[in-house]
């Protein structure tokens, strides 16, 4: 399936499938008036048994699922290990994932999983080619559209802006994108740019399938400031502001994901209501097919 054929889902929640905190089941029918439209989760390629254990009833009830793999090195053009491909595909198949997306970067170094210590993609032409080649390779192997996400960045090597990099890769690979607003805000700070100094005019918003919003952690060391993606914190105002600013451009958006792992239910409820109100105001899903 091409990313342009993905159905519109609405507002989703990223959470651990175990439902410890937050318990996403509190936001599924028939509970409350406040419901999420889909569940997004991340998992290792070997975690299918766990996913089956916690989600089998919801899969049976056809809860829409968005899957975030964590084992591919998106920024290198090497092929991936067979077991990683098979395992990841197995999860996507089992959950009938509507789409899957992973941050562009290096997630495993010398065979070791890096997780939160991932290496962000180098933002240059050579990296565009490598990343696009990897995305095309994954698109051919996965049962649903594979999207690229802008990674969290405190420091990076670049000859172009992150958004230009994402544009070039998505056009070369003909893929959709996940635009993580918190990652983008952190990237702007990390690269010494003003918050709004980004090449939005040429950015292919029609390729943005999913938006992520999350909390941000501000680390001040003397006069230096780092803005760090922090899913355990409330969604930061700057994320909402950025979403409101670009909202009119997001004419093909399929999902807005609240990344709220480790947040208490009451915070999720607050953000869900805010997201609904904002998406109604901006008409984010008014194009729904």
């Amino acid at each position: 399936m091409h990313y342009s054929e993905i159905p519109t889902l609405g507002i989703g929640l990223a959470a651990d499938v175990a439902g410890g905190q937050p318990n996403y089941r509190n936001f599924l029918p028939p509970h409350g008036p406040d419901k999420i439209d889909y569940l997004s989760f991340g998992a290792h390629h070997i975690q299918l048994p766990r996913i089956k254990h916690f989600l089998s009833d919801l899969i049976h009830d056809r809860l829409p699922i968005v899957f975030h793999p964590v084992n591919f090195n998106i920024s290198t053009c090497n092929t991936e290990e067979d077991d990683v491909v098979i395992g990841t595909r197995g999860i996507a198949d089992y959950t009938s994932a509507i789409w899957m997306g992973q941050d562009v970067g290096i997630w495993a170094y010398r065979g070791h999983y890096l997780g939160p210590m991932l290496i962000p993609a180098i933002l240059d032409e050579a990296s565009v080619s490598e990343t696009a080649a990897k995305v095309k390779y994954l698109q051919a192997l996965m049962p649903c559209p594979f999207l690229i996400e802008n990674p969290p960045v405190n420091a990076c090597l670049e000859t172009m802006h992150m958004l230009d990099f994402m544009r070039h890769v998505s056009e070369e690979a003909d893929c959709g994108m996940v635009l993580d607003l918190g990652h983008l805000i952190g990237y702007q700070q990390a690269t010494g740019r003003d918050r709004w100094d980004m090449p939005l005019a040429n950015f292919p918003f029609e390729r943005v399938v999913e938006i992520h919003v999350a909390g941000l952690q501000f680390s001040r060391v003397g006069s230096d400031l780092n803005i760090i993606d922090q899913h355990a914190y409330p969604v930061h105002d700057s994320c909402w502001e950025l979403l409101e600013a670009i909202g009119p451009e997001l004419k093909c958006l399929r999902g807005l994901t609240l990344e709220q792992e480790y947040c208490e239910d009451h915070l999720v409820l607050e953000h869900l209501r805010k997201a609904r109100a904002l998406s109604d105001k901006l008409g984010l899903f008014s194009h729904a097919n």
Binding site: D16, A18, G19, G20, N23, R25, N26, L28, H31, G32, D34, F41, G42, H44, I46, Q47, L48, P49, R50, H53, F54, D57, H68, V70, T76, N78, I106, Y109, G111, H112, Y113, L114, G115, P116, M117, I119, I122, D124, A126, S127, E130, V153, N154, A155, C156, L157, T159, A190, S219, V221, D224, L225, N226, I228, H231, E261, Y262, D265, H266, L269
Partner: protein, 285 residues
Amino acid sequence: MRIEYELYQRLTWDPAFRRAVAGADSSEIERLAPNSVHLEAIVKLAKSPGLEEECYRRIASLFKISAEIFSYSHQLFVSYFGDEFFERVLASYFDDCGDLKGTVEILEPFDGYVAGPRLLRAAKQAAKLAQMSWLADLAGYDWAVWHAARVAEGWPALENVPPLVPGATLLSVTYDLPSLLREIKRLQRSGVSPEIYRQRIQPAPGQYYAVILPKDGQVMQAKIDRELYEDISKNRSSDSNILDPDYRCFIEELGIVVANSFLCCSPEFRRSANSLADVIAPEPH
């Protein structure tokens, strides 16, 4: 993989290298960062607050897991060996150190099963160089207790020393270990300086033999006499530093643990390997 990724990785995991690149002149940069097309950018990167933040995250994570595993010896690592000790561990973190493919490599980078052996190895080397074998023994004790606790939680043992049960360690210390531990606890309660640790933590004459093992979800420490220690030692079928040759069971068990754990977003989050938690019933809101 492009050389720039190797350099980025090294800049974030090797603080000494980062300082060298940040302070290098143009003639040194090519030597430090050969074959790169982004030499100036790499120097700029090395000096950036963002990269310093990335370095901090790694060294802070290492300090944190060290304090957790080496509950008695961590402060002594700090007192005697300083930040350089931890920096050296980080710098060699991804060097070949005997990890088996498909096992610890799938854990978070600062999981105890990844960090613990590296810290223990480095501590033993540093203690040997400083002629402080007692500190190496203390670190071994800390590791044995932590490892047994983890096995008691349901994880597979990282080391097996037959005929002992998985996760058990045979301990032999040529000083009065219990007294040393009590004194360390006194100092910990008062939050004293590294200098005071160096002054006051000195092993007293004596000897101590024990088996530390996981049992019924807890850690047991069974004090034994020298004779029993030597008996057990004679019957040991492998060195405790060598992993069980038949590691397939371990891989499968560790795979089960990882399969049942939430590893995506936090290295602190752990689940027992034995059973998955129940699905949590929703509550009205």
